[in-house]
Amino acid sequence: MDKKISGFAYVLGNNIDTDQIIPAEHLVYSMSDEEESKKYGQFALSSVPKKEAGLPHGGIPFVDEGKNTSLYNIIIAGANFGCGSSREHAPYAINKAGCNVVIAESYARIFYRNAVDGGFLVPYECEQKLNDKIHTGDKLEIDFERNLLIDLSDHREFKLKPLGDVLPIIEAGGLFEYARKTGMIKTV
């Protein structure tokens, strides 16, 4: 895991469910076929209602029409991010779009586990509501060592909650890597 990353914010509201993250009709694509799996990036967050896509004004697609990756690599969301189904395709799709950090007020359990255990996303929780303070397109930096989010446009700093128990799994890069590192399973 890098010590810092920077990039652009994509801001969302509360209760972004897994059907909005990756609509059920797209769950049929292979996740192991390199070419076909790009479709998950293409359709990431494609079902978020227009007015809520890219706050504060909305109307900004996460992934531009015809593209497989997003211009935004840090998602700032409200409460209960990833609620709904158990589909691991959800954090996977966001990751495939080129985004691997989400900062939300809270997460649904299965999404959170999938993000961590699959090694797809770093699911940070913010200490205070951020989706009304940061705008889509803001340039941000995340300092993983200090658990800090910095808005590079005006140098405001926001504290993030430490990742806690799951940090070793995130640092290892997912559940399997963690289990190998700790000797739970054998290396193949």
Binding site: V28, H89, G118
Partner: protein, 431 residues
């Protein structure tokens, strides 16, 4: 130390005397369930991680029900079923329920109950968020993603954070115009879609223990709609009678200690509740049917693991008998057993199937069908600006298909009453 039923079951599974909420424990899994959407990627991850010579930790504990995208021409969806079939063949899996054979069952959560994989005191994981349904049998059950499932497939183990518990007690005698669906929609309105995140929802009270297993499963099924890790109802005589008909497996019944600690407790008198709906676009957007009655509908849907069980069709039949539906109404029996039973069970001497057909309902083959939208050729799928009332469990934007559609969630009684009038209708107008 006093413990809740959930803590007792998790302690047993973790090989510990006791566990406390917030603690991360490694559990020994009794059953792993998967289906056609998440099964193939699970198998792929398992092979990638454990190598080509990967071994399944215990074949007898792996259960696979293709159920989501079954009756479709979509080639990607059909490929998923083929992947499962090949996997089952290659490893000679005893518990694979293939499409197009006598073994095909339909929706996984209902099939788990029918095939007696739901055993009190055990721990079941599934690659589906509604795996919490099995908690109706006094067991711990929850949904996981593909990576977690692949890990279980190879090791039989998984980590879990011991949840805090919330207790929901329903007192009183359930009036004939209410079903378990009204109760759970009522709770959702109170605690919202993240009110139980990372927690176990325990259901209790005389009104709950008066419910048949199918109705108990409706309660635990929708725990996930509140973000719950699991839903649970301690096993009793009703549970034991259900099991006795289907299995000789032994089991252990756990109950919460009287002085167990809860994150919160809620008490309701069911006699005071009213027929309830969740309005578009969230299961917690609760209202009483009376407040939305008259809303014009374009489609009605009775199906899914939540509302496609025998009990649900019996409720619907009570209203549909000698009536005609005014809008297209789709009936999807959750399992093939239920589909067969529809022909056998009667209301006022007429088979339920006859009643539903005479009323003008379209009866589809058992599967998840339009509950989750599915491929374009899925029966009952919401199109354009459809306004649907449905016995399913989710109404997030686009859940049943079209992003422009509006879905109301309701009990089978309310859906049947609404189907007859073509507008949202309180079942008390018929009962």
């Amino acid at each position: 130390m006093p413990m809740t039923i959930t803590e007792k079951i998790l302690a047993k599974s973790a090989g510990k005397k006791s566990v406390t909420p917030g603690e991360n424990v490694w559990l020994n899994v009794d059953v792993l369930m998967t289906h056609d959407v998440c099964g193939p990627p699970t198998v792929q991850i398992w092979k990638r991680e454990f190598g080509e010579k990967a071994e399944i930790w215990d074949k007898n504990k792996l259960v696979i029900f293709p159920d989501h995208y079954i009756f479709t021409k979509n080639t990607h969806a059909n490929r998923n079923v083929s992947i499962l079939r090949e996997f089952a063949d290659q490893y000679n899996l005893p518990n694979y329920y293939d499409v197009g054979t006598d073994r095909y069952k339909g929706v996984c959560h209902i099939a788990l109950a029918e095939e007696a994989y739901n055993i009190p005191g055990t721990v079941l994981f599934g690659t589906d968020s509604h795996t919490c349904t099995s908690g109706a049998f006094g067991m711990f059950s929850t949904g996981v993603g593909n990576t977690d499932a692949a890990f279980i497939l190879g090791t039989g183990k998984i980590w879990e954070k011991v949840p805090e518990s919330m207790k929901f007690t329903f007192n009183g005698k359930l009036p004939p115009y209410l079903t378990a669906k009204d109760l759970i929609l009522h709770i959702l309105g109170d605690i919202t879609t993240d009110g139980a995140t990372y927690r176990a929802m325990e259901f209790d009270g005389e009104a709950v223990y008066a419910l048949p297993m199918e109705e108990r499963m409706t309660l635990t099924n929708m725990a996930i709609e509140a973000g719950g890790m699991s839903g649970i109802i301690a096993a009793d005589e009703v549970t034991e009678a259900f099991l006795k008909q289907r299995t000789t497996k032994s089991y252990e019944i756990f109950r919460s200690d009287a002085d167990a600690k809860y994150f919160s407790t809620y008490t309701y008198n069911v006699e005071k509740l009213e027929p309830t709906v969740a309005k578009p676009h969230s299961p917690d957007n609760r209202d009483i049917v009376r407040n939305v009655q008259g809303t014009k509908l374009t489609k009605c849907y009775i199906g899914s693991c939540t509302g496609g069980k025998m009990f649900d069709f019996m409720q619907a039949a009570k209203i549909l008998i000698n009536n005609k539906v005014k809008v297209p109404t789709f009936v999807v029996p959750a399992s093939t057993d239920i589909a067969a039973q529809l022909e056998v069970e009667t209301y006022k001497g007429i088979s339920l199937k006859q009643i539903l057909q005479d009323a003008g309902c379209v009866i589809a083959q058992s599967s998840c069908a339009a509950c989750l939208g599915g491929p374009a050729d899925t029966i009952g799928r919401a199109v354009d600006k459809d306004v649907v009332i449905s016995t399913t469990n989710r109404n997030f934007p686009g859940r049943m298909g079209s992003k422009q559609s509006e879905v109301y969630l309701a009990s089978p009684l309310t859906v049947a009453a609404s189907a007859v009038t073509g507008v949202i209708t309180d079942p008390r107008d018929f009962i």
